[in-house]
Symmetry: C2
Subunit: 411 residues, 2 copies
């Protein structure tokens, strides 16, 4: 692990200095290489799929693991899309000429060595490699052992292309090994500049607890939709159904519904029916069950759960204040939505709810780098330091002040 990190550090210098044209050529070569090596990647993936099926992995998980030539092409297209985006490195964030004539500029520079520890699908491997390369960072990829053969084949294809472009292949490395290697990675302060865990709560907890390297936490989303007394209930129904059912396994899916008491009698039975039609199981509090007695009762755990499935907790609240208090208690600071026609309620909710994204009259599913127009996303940060919300290319940079003068000294 340490040797990999040292090679990555060595790779940061030519990478940081690489002009946009070279990085974009590498990204296009990486895309072509994935498609050229598609057969090998699919073979490797077939091994992972049969190993995991034999080991008893659920069908839904196996489906996420499985690659097809269409999915490989989608990875390649993702890399080509990155080549079209502007280069964050060198961007001037602020600048001024000081009273003494010093010219001060704050420029974006790469972070350096980024370690990704992830449990996701194999496409995360190509996405993360591409985003790190475009932002001038070397990346250590620590994927799930269940996807080891797939990731090995993908990384081999990517490295071949990077090297052919004249950039160091060690800009992209797969870190293979046991639990101890992850521990080493988390202690590699001075070699690794940031660790980004992407996966379940247990992974993130381990990384945050053990790491002396700075961490960007991502992705636990217990997202709420609050339907206000003044909501357009047709709109509320569309939003709740979309937020819950569009992609229930993603972190920006809604996990909990809060309904103002004034509209509970009308809205709760209606939304329970609409959700049931989509296969959603509602877990309701007493207020919900008073108007929809067939709903199964919610426990304390339900309100704290990130289901990532077709389940939804639901509660009736007496006021906007109660909704905000509920979110403060159970929310994970990811995405919180309100449906309302009241300007004041929208304004208060946006100001008082403390989350990476607050959404008024739209689905929680819009908290996404692609939807926000960033063109790419390496994860969604739920911490407050450095980056909060979808992380695109800019979030993968640090800054450097460059100050030029003609002999100024302090007096």
């Amino acid at each position: 692990m340490r040797a990999s990190a040292e090679r990555a550090l060595e790779a940061t210098r030519p990478l940081a200095a690489a002009p946009r044209a070279v990085k974009d050529a590498a990204l296009r070569a990486m895309a072509d290489s994935l498609e050229r090596h598609c057969a090998e990647i699919l073979d490797a993936n077939a091994t992972d799929v049969s190993d995991q099926t034999a080991a008893g992995m659920s069908d839904a998980m196996v489906d996420r693991l499985r690659l097809t030539s269409g999915r490989v092409s989608a990875m390649a297209d993702g890399l080509r899309a990155l080549a079209v985006l502007g280069d964050p490195v060198g961007e001037v964030v602020r600048g001024s000429t000081l009273a003494n004539g010093l010219e001060m500029r704050q420029l974006r520079v790469p972070l350096g060595v980024v370690a990704m520890i992830y449990e996701g699908r194999p496409n995360v491997t190509a996405d993360a490699a591409g985003i790190c390369l475009k932002s001038g960072n070397a990346v250590l990829l620590r994927g799930s052992s269940s996807a080891l053969h797939s990731n090995t084949a993908i990384v081999a294809a990517l490295r071949e292309a990077v090297e052919a472009t004249g950039l160091p292949a060690d800009a992209i490395q797969l870190v293979v090994g046991g639990r101890d290697d992850v521990a080493d990675l988390l202690q590699a302060r001075g070699l690794v500049d940031v660790v980004i865990p992407r996966g379940g709560a247990a992974l993130i907890e381990r990384v945050v607890t053990e790491s002396t390297v700075p961490v960007i936490e991502t992705g636990i989303g217990n997202c709420h939709v609050y339907v206000d007394a003044d909501a357009d209930l047709d709109m509320a129904e569309r939003i709740v159904v979309n937020a819950k059912t569009h992609r229930p396994s993603l972190c920006n899916a809604a996990e909990s519904l809060l309904v103002h008491a004034q509209v509970a009698e009308e809205f709760v039975p209606r939304i329970v029916k609409a959700l049931a039609a989509e296969g959603v199981t509602v877990h309701g509090d007493e207020g919900v069950r008073r108007v929809s007695p067939d709903v199964i009762p919610a426990t304390e755990e339900d309100f704290g759960a990130e289901y990532l499935s077709l389940d939804l907790s639901a509660a009736v609240v007496g006021s906007l204040d109660d909704a905000v208090a509920h979110i403060r208690r159970y929310g994970t600071g990811h995405t919180e939505a309100i449906v309302t026609r009241s300007h004041e309620a929208a304004r208060r909710f946006a100001a008082e709810v403390d989350a990476a994204a607050v959404i008024v009259n739209a689905s929680t599913r819009f908290t996404d780098g692609g939807e926000f127009g960033f063109g790419a996303e390496i994860g969604i940060s739920t911490q407050k330091l450095h980056a909060r919300g979808p992380m695109g290319l800019q979030e993968m940079t640090s800054t450097k002040y460059v100050v030029t003068g003609d002999g100024q000294i302090r007096s």
Copy 2:
């Protein structure tokens, strides 16, 4: 400690919602209160000074600890200066209207609860309290035990003023207690949003190693001045003397001098003499001692040292590449300066040196929030995540996305 952190968290809500006018009124009231309670503060400080003198603290350290009515007024003026600065909270960092009509804005919001652990002079207490209040954060102040009486009196004066303005007094709290309380603070994830250590290397190392709360590292500065072959040697002399002697105890003072071999014979004896006249001891490598044999020899430790005193390590380097390699090996990523008339050398040095600030033809002492025009500074970050370089009000904020629509769902 935990109770203090919970009260701080409670205070974050009214603080985050406080409009600029209220925060500025509080800052002015805090300034007035410091001056009104000046006699009590000086009495408390006299106790610290006599305790520490009896305990054998060095004269230089006692001088840093000592307050005078002038120093108390300077603290008050610092708070008044903050009241004049713009409010970072609510600033729109970016925004756009998406193709589907969603209006997306990224706004600055307070971080929440900030813990400062510091060894500095008592004026840090007032500065940190002011910067945190202006940026809408509650602050837990963990000062040095040697300044306990002074800090207690300062915080009491500040809290009285905050409360009188209608903001919660618990926005500013002094954390008193043993080493265990610091350990609790470092484990208070979920209550404390960021820990900022400000002090020596041992303190910073402890905080980084033990903390599960995100940390912003500050201030270890082994800053170099590189005098290039093409340097204006008069300018180089002025810059080196200023960078070393203007305030040698601060982190942006120069600790090491690198001289290109082509100008060593002319420049080294000259700068050694100029520095000696200012009381500076030079610790030189063989190249330095070849042309200035009276210079005492430098050890490996000298090149790694942040002296914070009138000592300077010095080496002769064969090229700009060697200078960059030396800085890469010994530098702490704070501030690195080059003196040169060569456009190419300046450009290469700025690009290849990885530090919070790179300075061309000026003193290292300019890496400072005040000098950069930030109006205030809570420390100088030497890490790459979140903030790098002088941290002003903006660096004490996070962001939040607010997205408003009229019923948009994802398809």
